[in-house]
């Protein structure tokens, strides 16, 4: 009896995953600035557009392979900053986004989401290569680019789109095959051992 209920649990989970495919197909039709029916919890409109642009630059769509915006990573960033960050972390993060905006406008006279791809990349490259002046004073958490990039990276690869459409997803492998050829799509497994 106990075993049967366990199997039911597993089928239920697979059902969820299948329905997720439809969901992700829907959301991948979101274009760059269409956020209809969704309101950020913590960012104002300018901050949200800035975050979304950064997320897109760091992990873009490549051909048919979804990127971070397709995976709604920008929405997750908003949710995490709103619901899971401490008050102090939240304040720092919002200051960081505003500082990015100020620095972009200083260099290019426009917000980052209105720049063309070349200028966006130039800005982020400069940020990545810089000694870090985007952090609120007194912070010693490391380079803001690395913190932000790694946050986005984790969010992307642990999203449903990242896990199941970009990487190879295998929730119940059944057997362990110790030495196989590489998968045709050349991608890694998504679930960490």
């Amino acid at each position: 009896m106990k075993r049967r209920s366990a199997i039911k649990l597993s089928l239920g989970s697979i059902g969820l995953c299948l329905s997720g495919v439809t969901f992700s197909t829907l959301i991948s039709s979101c274009n760059a600035d269409n956020e209809e029916g969704w309101t950020p919890k913590v960012f104002n409109k300018n901050q949200m557009r800035t975050v979304k642009a950064l997320v897109d630059i760091i992990i873009p769509r490549t051909g048919d392979v979804p990127g971070a915006v397709d995976a709604l990573v920008h929405r997750y960033v908003d949710e995490a900053v709103s619901d899971y960050f401490s008050e102090e972390e939240r304040t720092k993060f919002i200051q960081f986004v505003d500082q990015i905006d100020v620095n972009v406008k200083e260099g290019f006279s426009k917000p980052i989401y209105k720049l063309d791809a070349e200028k966006q990349n130039a800005f982020v490259q400069e940020w990545a290569d810089s000694s870090d002046d985007y952090q609120p004073s007194g912070s010693d958490d490391g380079h803001s680019f690395l913190i932000f990039r790694d946050f986005v990276t984790h969010a992307f690869f642990t999203s449903e789109v990242g896990s199941t459409e970009v990487l190879n997803y295998d929730p119940v492998p059944g057997e362990y095959l110790p030495c196989t050829d590489l998968p045709e799509n050349g991608a890694s497994w998504s679930i960490r051992n």
Binding site: K2, L9, G12, C17, I59, E160, S163, V172, P173, P178
Partner: protein, 569 residues
């Protein structure tokens, strides 16, 4: 005051088992199957097999992708010290430190689990027999006291528990690392096979094998337990029952006899001692939810509350006969705390096998059995005893560190593709029993049930620290020899307790003046009280100890049932 509203008959059993983890589950199963009406007490809530709500969840289905927030972390300040135990998927299985305090005279990471099934739901599942190299070690080295048993006493019980629990592994034919009744071994991946053959060529005394783990790999497990699905999400609870836990295995078996009464939320206050008969007559219990107190009576008591908690109950069971705690004539109760020291080893990367990959997440890695101080040829001048290596090979994925300034399409493509093959060797070393490594009860700091908290005063000493140097050096050397690049010896913070193998607080021995338990795990002076969890261990060896707890428990429980039938206890 303790009183029961029910009649004494209703609260009287043949046996009481305190705790339902790895060893308590076995005590329950064996005693019930021997026909004894058995009350199983656990201080935590009940968890029925299959009731694992996070088992199938993915990161995008849970808050914050499974990461705990700073506010959540605050409740688990000590339980989180392992770095791998507490997360969104498992936090329901760990006690909040804020509710279950203890006191660190010296740093000690006491990682507990208070629920039916205890840490059997969360354990590492590595299962290795001890040998006479281990059972004779104290006598040969003149350390502490001699074990009152030898491998021959335990070998048939290892057979028995292995067959039932389901241990997968490879036979090696080593006398100091005995083979068992194994289910088919899990296979090694290509980089591990490579390492195995290189090590075999380079060393006459070292073997790389696959970890022997308590996972069913052959259909037909007892009680419908299924085979391992290679999900490697074991710590969330296994819906297939593929790894051994009390919840999936021994408790359902005990329940099937009709002889078991399971009472969760039952904190044992103390064991009741009767001066006239010089025996225990039962236990005093505090209901963890209502704070009501009860007494339960029985002919025998099995203590399986985990090493520190079992000793705590005994120390708290004072009487005119035992003013310093039940069975503490020797003064050794609560002393000789041991654990394994680890968090040290080496890792490296391999340039080869770039066109090879794997499928599935095998829930074990490689194991290198002890090769130091095994015989004259392997005798070390800086330390006695030895260590083994866990570890394994794998191929990196998106979680690997990327180049600092990278982003964009190239960054994404790099992380999506499999990275380098890596191999790690992670030492687990033996810790000696030292009388001064001890726990004691603190009556100035009571917990929320009015019970004393524990003061833990334990440290690694010279032998452990000398062994660690060798553990690190040999790991690096073995990886170099096997052709790995970027070989990095490493060492992390490792304080006692972190190995989650607490042992030794009520040791077995031949002499009542220097030990707490006899060769049948009975308290020398209270023959109807048995302690068969980690508390009973006279030395620690270097192997993961749970399989030995299982074998000792099954042996003691069958002895107890038999002795009871013969009116000997």
């Amino acid at each position: 005051m303790y009183f029961n509203s029910k009649g004494k008959e209703e609260v009287t059993y043949d046996a009481i088992v305190v705790g339902s983890g790895i060893s308590g589950g076995w005590a329950a199963k064996e005693l019930c199957e021997q026909g004894l009406k058995t009350l199983v007490l656990d201080r935590g809530r009940n968890i029925k097999h299959g009731d694992y709500p996070t088992a199938m969840l993915e990161p995008w289905e849970v808050p914050n992708r499974g990461r705990l927030t700073e506010a959540e972390w605050k409740d688990y300040e000590k339980q989180r010290r392992t770095g791998y135990t507490v997360n969104h998927y498992t936090k329901q299985y760990w006690p909040k430190d804020t509710e279950h305090p203890y006191n660190e005279i010296k740093p000690f990471d006491w990682i507990r689990s208070y629920q039916v099934g205890g840490r059997s739901l969360l354990w590492g599942r590595h299962s290795y027999r001890w040998s006479d190299l281990d059972f004779e070690a104290n006598a040969k080295d003149g350390v502490a006291v001699d074990w009152p048993i030898r491998y021959a006493d335990l070998a048939p019980w290892y057979d028995y528990v292995e067959e039932y629990a389901g241990i997968s592994g490879e036979k090696l034919g080593l006398k100091h690392f005995p083979d068992g009744k194994f289910q088919p071994a899990m296979p090694l991946n290509c980089v591990e096979e490579h390492t195995k053959s290189k090590i075999a060529k380079a060393y006459s005394d070292r073997i790389v094998t696959v970890g022997r783990v308590a996972h069913i790999t052959k259909p037909g497990g007892h009680l419908g337990r299924g085979t391992c699905q290679n999900r490697s999400r074991c710590m969330r609870g296994c819906p297939y029952g593929a790894y051994f836990s009390s919840n999936a295995s021994t408790l359902p078996a005990a329940d099937a006899t009709g002889n078991m009464t399971l009472r969760p939320h039952s904190i044992v206050h103390s064991i009741i001692f009767d001066d006239e008969t010089q025996k225990a007559t039962g236990v005093r219990v505090i209901d963890a939810q209502t704070n009501e107190t009860f007494e339960y009576y029985s002919k025998i008591v099995f203590l399986n509350a985990s090493a520190l908690n079992s000793a705590s109950i005994l120390l708290h069971s004072t009487s005119a006969r035992f003013p310093d705690g039940m069975g503490n004539d020797s003064g050794e109760l609560g002393h000789n705390v041991m654990d394994h020291h680890f968090q040290i080893g080496a890792s490296g990367t391999h340039d080869g096998f770039q066109d090879k990959y794997f499928k599935g997440r095998r829930p074990t890695g490689t194991f290198v059995p002890r090769f130091r101080n095994v015989d004259k040829a392997t005798k070390q001048k800086d330390f006695i005893r030895g260590y083994g290596y866990q570890g394994g090979g794998s191929r990196e994925s998106w979680w690997r560190p990327a180049e600092a300034a990278k982003f964009g399409a190239a960054y994404k493509e790099e992380l999506v593709a499999p990275g380098s093959w890596t191999m790690s060797l992670h030492g687990f070393g033996e810790c000696l029993p030292y009388h001064e490594n001890k726990m004691s009860l603190n009556y100035d700091k009571l917990d929320k049930w009015g019970l004393p908290t524990l003061d833990l005063d334990v440290e690694w000493k010279e032998n452990e620290l000398a062994m660690r140097k060798d553990m690190k050096n040999q790991a690096a050397e073995m990886l170099e020899v096997s052709g790995f690049k970027n070989v990095r010896p490493w060492e992390n913070r490792c304080k006692p307790g972190l190995g989650i193998h607490e042992m030794g607080t009520a040791r077995m021995g031949r002499n009542p003046k220097t030990s707490v338990l006899n060769k049948w795990n009975q308290i020398h002076a209270v023959k109807n009280v048995f302690v068969t969890d980690g508390a009973c261990m006279t030395s620690a060896a270097n192997q993961n100890p749970s399989l030995t707890y299982m074998a000792l428990t099954a042996r003691a429980a069958n002895y107890a049932a038999d002795a009871l039938k013969k009116n000997e206890i």
